[in-house]
């Protein structure tokens, strides 16, 4: 550590040179800078703690089994989150169903098959740009395409429209993480396969993909956890805010956890703010579990080549 250096004797007596090292004040500035850097990090962490503590303190009182299993209500003490919880599970499963084949397939194409031509470059630039498009814009796309133009198939403002919209939103994330997982597989594995006479696809299917599964799964879970935390696109596509039934099919109306929380936070009555906090605890717990699973997969199944 460098802290003891500042106590070094400062050399002021030299007259031959106009240069004064002036170490004392320079080290003081150094120390201030160091404290500022640690302080900034500390402030960020403290705010995170403040946020978590507030939410737990506000919401733990109204978080009980009744809250988990009840439908929303006009009276805060009867209101529950079951419709939103089931809606979120529906959305999550559908998004996974759409994005896993599409995202992994596109990732394999770009990483393993694609030559460096205009199509590949266009897709790559495009994926980079899509990541920067605000999520509410995806909501507007979903509203126009899935909820209106494709209404006969999707049933309008349905759980299917919402899931399709979120799938488009996280598709670039899944593609990028698939590519990273594939890139981590050493080339020697592929070359060994080719040497035995296998085609590119046979090598991918029987060796590269199985080895990359933990990495791909980690990416998919993280992308899904982003999808279920998204609020804005679902509002735009038309998730309902007050629903007292569970989705019955793909064309059913639905609500989701963030939408329900948004609705409760927006109400003027204070009791609804407490149950909003309870809803946030449930949502954050889900995200925590998903992230935990992702980290576990990454640490325990990732082979070192």
């Amino acid at each position: 550590m460098k802290t003891d250096v500042s106590s070094r004797v400062v050399d002021k007596g030299q007259k031959q040179s106009h240069f004064t090292a002036n170490l004392g004040s320079r080290y003081t500035i150094d120390r201030i800078f160091k404290y500022a850097a640690w302080g900034a990090t500390g402030v960020s962490i403290l705010i995170l703690v403040w946020l978590l503590v507030t939410i737990v303190a506000d919401g733990i009182g109204t978080l009980n089994w009744n809250f988990i299993t009840s439908f929303p209500s006009r009276r805060a003490e009867n209101a529950g989150i079951i419709a939103a919880l089931v809606g979120t599970v529906w959305v999550m499963c559908l998004v996974a169903l759409f994005t896993v084949p599409l995202g992994v397939g596109a990732g394999i194409f770009l990483e393993e098959f694609a030559e460096d031509n205009w199509f590949t470059r266009l897709v790559e630039i495009n994926i980079g740009n899509l990541a920067g498009v605000p999520s509410i814009i995806y909501g507007l796309l979903g509203l126009a395409v899935f909820a209106r133009i494709m209404q006969p198939i999707t049933g309008g403002r349905s759980v299917l429209s919402g899931s399709l919209t979120l799938s488009l939103l996280i598709l670039p994330v899944v593609i990028v993480s698939t590519r990273e997982a594939l890139r981590a597989i050493p080339n020697s594995l592929r070359l060994a396969g080719y040497a035995l006479g296998a085609t590119r696809w046979q090598v991918i299917w029987s060796h590269v993909l199985p080895a990359a599964v933990p990495g791909i799964l980690t990416g998919v879970i993280l992308a899904l956890s982003r999808a279920i935390g998204e609020t804005a696109p679902l509002i735009a596509v038309g998730a309902a805010v007050f629903i007292s039934f569970l989705p019955e099919g793909l064309q059913s109306q639905f609500t989701a956890m963030p939408i329900q929380i948004y609705n409760w936070v927006g109400r003027p009555q204070e009791e609804f703010h407490y149950i909003a906090a309870s809803g946030i605890i449930v949502l954050m717990a889900m995200l925590l579990v998903m992230n935990g699973v992702a980290v576990y997969l990454r640490n325990h199944f990732q082979k070192d080549f």
């Binding site: 946020l51 098959f113 694609a114 605000p134």
Partner: protein, 311 residues
């Protein structure tokens, strides 16, 4: 040809079905290639819907009015469409958020890459990642119900909905992004450069601020621009905490309405297709898209143009 080969290795009756394997590979390649094309279709879809409805909008509202009106009242009887009312609110909140995220994010990045020991770094980084993973609706809750009442202790003039706490919390939200992208840039500065500075007698702070930061400047600036773009497009925090009151001006103490908040306000209700409200939605979306797209392009360009390469 394959038949000949089979004949040569007579003892076994096995022959690799090369033709079938190659056919399967071609099919797989075409299917996966079309999956990759979906991302292009998404972009085309976004552009097409935005442009189509925006053109419909400008058939009813002249573009000069859209750009110069000073009021935003699309839901009133006397409709006025001054987009700058919404843009000013978005800009004000983004500036506040960058004023928070620049010092916090950059200093955190310096702390992580220069001061923290590897062990502490392993603890701090996941915590910043948690901060980045918190859903935005949760930040909205925090801004509206925790930060605003807290600020009102010191600023009695602050209204229940205001741009200030929305901007501050938005700043906290984008801090991890600035921190992690800037840290990557700082990390990429070669050690020899720092060692050179130390050898010349520079202190650690002098090395960081006059050697490492300038060398990483392109990455840091581009992380800030990307964070700004994120702030401009952020929806839930501003919808919940900044209110829904379109006012022109830069007073952070009063309720304002951003572009994203307007989109939520309209889509939350039932805006039937073909109405002027529905078209307004896409005109605002187009403006938002252009702003974020310009920022993203500028950020990429900046990195390319000003990157210092060390090999």
């Amino acid at each position: 040809m394959t038949d000949n080969v089979t004949g040569d290795i007579a003892p076994g009756s096995w022959s690799p079905k090369r033709d079938r394997a190659k056919a399967i590979q071609t099919i797989v390649k075409i299917i996966f290639g079309s999956f990759a094309a979906i991302s292009i279709l998404t972009t085309i879809g976004i552009l097409a819907t935005l442009i189509f409805e925006t053109i419909e909008f400008f058939k009813e509202v002249p573009i000069s009015q859209f750009l110069t009106d000073t009021r935003w009242t699309p839901l009133f009887a006397s409709k006025q469409f001054g987009i700058f009312v919404l843009v000013s609110a978005t800009m004000m909140i983004s500036v506040i958020s960058i004023m928070v995220a620049l010092p916090l994010g950059l200093l955190s990045a310096i702390c992580l890459s220069e001061y923290a020991t590897p062990r502490i770094r392993r603890i701090l980084k996941p915590m910043l990642e948690i901060l980045a993973g918190v859903p935005t609706v949760v930040y909205g809750y925090f801004a509206l119900l925790t930060v605003t009442p807290f600020l009102q202790i010191f600023l009695p003039d602050l209204q229940g909905f205001n741009a200030l706490s929305a901007g501050l919390v938005l700043g906290i939200m984008i801090t991890p992004m600035v921190a992690s992208l800037s840290e990557d840039a700082l990390y990429a500065v070669p050690r020899s450069l720092k060692d050179g500075a130390y050898a010349l007698g520079a202190t650690k702070r002098e090395t960081v601020t006059s050697v490492v930061l300038p060398a990483a400047l392109s990455g840091i600036v581009s992380s800030l621009i990307l964070a700004t773009s994120r702030a401009v497009g952020e929806t839930m925090i501003v919808t919940l905490a900044a209110g829904a009151n379109p006012t022109l001006g830069f007073n952070p103490f009063v309720p304002v309405m951003t572009m994203t908040a307007f989109i939520v306000q309209i889509t939350k209700g039932d805006a039937p297709y073909g109405t002027i409200e529905y078209k307004t939605l896409y005109a605002v979306g187009m403006t938002l898209f252009i702003m974020t797209f310009a920022l993203n392009i500028f950020s990429f360009w900046f990195v390319r143009r000003f990157r210092e390469k060390y090999d």
